[in-house]
């Protein structure tokens, strides 16, 4: 049956297209998939793993497993549902392996008590990473708060409430083209605000690599 090419490509179909490209070895497509679901995966892991620096390591592990298992993804469920299961299993395995390591190292009683008792001390992020991340979150938060009210409402209805453009148009009582434009302008405004910071971080990473 011939498909109507003017119909929209749903998010599920978009994921399937990216998966197909990644299966063929197109790494940019896989990178796009990871960045698309990185935060949701991190949120899931954070429910089990409390150490913030470990969350990122486990998230990396999850996506490496996802990449290896891509040929077995048949698309019966949504891509995120499939990734979610892998994330839960990887986080559980991480906890089991970690508890074994702690038993094997025979930590002194006092050390063990302070290790498990002080959550703040368990965050092993480097100071630079914590600062960069904190700065990024601050800039992001400031940029969102400075958005014009109509742009802010449109982007919140889309990203937080997950409404479609049609529903947002109905909610804001405006044409769908206006919603399309407002959401794009909100994203672009935040992109412009973050660019200098992100470019600086990219530059720092390349500098570290060259050393």
């Amino acid at each position: 049956m011939k498909q109507d090419n003017n119909t929209k490509m749903s998010e599920k179909t978009l994921d399937a297209e990216l998966v197909e490209q990644a299966k063929k070895g197109h790494m940019p497509a896989f990178e796009m998939l990871v960045n698309r679901y990185q935060q949701r995966v991190a949120n899931v892991i954070a429910k089990l793993v409390k150490n913030r620096s470990e969350i990122e390591d486990v998230a990396q592990e999850v996506f490496i497993k996802v990449f290896r298992a891509l040929p077995r993804f048949r698309g019966d469920s949504s891509f995120y549902t499939w990734v979610y299961r892998i994330a839960i299993n990887t986080a559980k395995n991480h906890l089991v392996a970690k508890s074994r390591r702690i038993q094997n190292t025979q930590v002194e009683y006092e050390e063990a008590e302070s290790f498990s008792g002080n959550e703040a001390h368990r965050n092993l992020d480097t100071p630079d990473a914590v600062y960069a991340r904190g700065e990024l979150e601050q800039v992001m938060s400031k940029a969102i708060s400075q958005l014009p009210e109509d742009l802010k409402t449109a982007i919140i209805l889309r990203e937080v409430d997950g409404l479609s453009y049609e529903d947002i148009a109905s909610e804001m009582d405006c044409p769908i083209g206006t919603v399309r434009s407002r959401i794009f302008r909100a994203r672009d405004a935040i992109d412009q605000a973050l660019r200098p910071l992100l470019d600086k971080e990219q530059h720092n990473k390349e500098h570290v690599r060259s050393i």
């Binding site: 109507d4 090419n5 003017n6 119909t7 929209k8 490509m9 749903s10 998010e11 179909t13 978009l14 297209e17 990216l18 490209q21 299966k23 070895g25 940019p28 896989f30 990178e31 796009m32 990871v34 960045n35 698309r36 990185q38 935060q39 949701r40 991190a42 949120n43 954070a46 913030r52 990122e56 990396q60 996506f63 490496i64 990449f67 290896r68 891509l70 040929p71 077995r72 992020d125 991340r133 990024l136 992001m140 938060s141 982007i155 919140i156 889309r158 990203e159 937080v160 479609s164 453009y165 399309r180 959401i183 794009f184 909100a186 994203r187 672009d188 935040i190 992109d191 660019r195 971080e201």
Partner: protein
């Protein structure tokens, strides 16, 4: 990059762009880093508003994962079977190949040394250990269990012993019975013999 292209990326990530445009844009994004940067930054905003208090803000995790995959080993490539499945398949193939090789080698050696073998006394495995590791690997023969044996569970050695003993001439037990205790059969035979000698 034009604003229209950026708006298309914004619509694409929301599933609000037509199929044709989406396919075209996806192809373009595979080759254009600027397009991918916009995709990543738009998703960063999504990450920020979806961020759970416990989780750190994820920033371009994709590039780190791809970097790790590209610098990693062969095991990081997508595979149709799991790691264990692959290992099992390889192990099975290796065993099959080894058995085939052993069969070819032993066949050739049997052909080459068949003349010598004929003159040699057959060597049988005498212990369980030798059954597994014969004393003379390719010349050793392990006696097959005779199909007609009454003791199929015994070792070949014990079966041979029994067979050897069975082939010795043994006087039937009733010949060893004293004359006063003769059986009716023996008595009739003796009577007949007397009858012929009397005649």
């Amino acid at each position: 990059m034009s604003d229209q292209s950026k708006q298309n990326i914004s619509q694409l990530m929301d599933g609000e762009l037509s199929r044709d445009c989406s396919r075209f844009l996806l192809k373009r994004m595979n080759h254009d880093a600027d397009f991918r940067d916009s995709w990543n930054h738009y998703h960063l905003l999504r990450s920020a508003v979806q961020q759970d208090g416990q989780a750190p803000l994820m920033l371009n995790l994709g590039s780190r994962v791809v970097q790790r995959l590209q610098s990693g080993s062969e095991a990081d490539k997508p595979s149709a079977t799991s790691g264990r499945g692959w290992l099992k398949a390889m192990t099975g193939s290796a065993i099959a190949a080894s058995v085939a090789l052993l069969a070819v080698i032993s066949f050739n050696q049997n052909n080459l040394s068949s003349a010598d073998m004929d003159s040699q006394v057959p060597e049988y495995a005498k212990t369980a250990k030798q059954l597994i590791n014969p004393p003379n690997a390719f010349t050793a023969r392990v006696e097959q269990k005779p199909r007609y044996t009454r003791y199929p569970d015994l070792t070949p050695q014990v079966q041979h012993y029994i067979m050897d003993k069975n082939t010795q001439t043994v006087v039937p037990i009733y010949y060893r019975i004293q004359s006063g205790q003769q059986s009716p059969v023996q008595q009739s035979i003796q009577n007949q013999a007397r009858h012929y000698t009397d005649e």
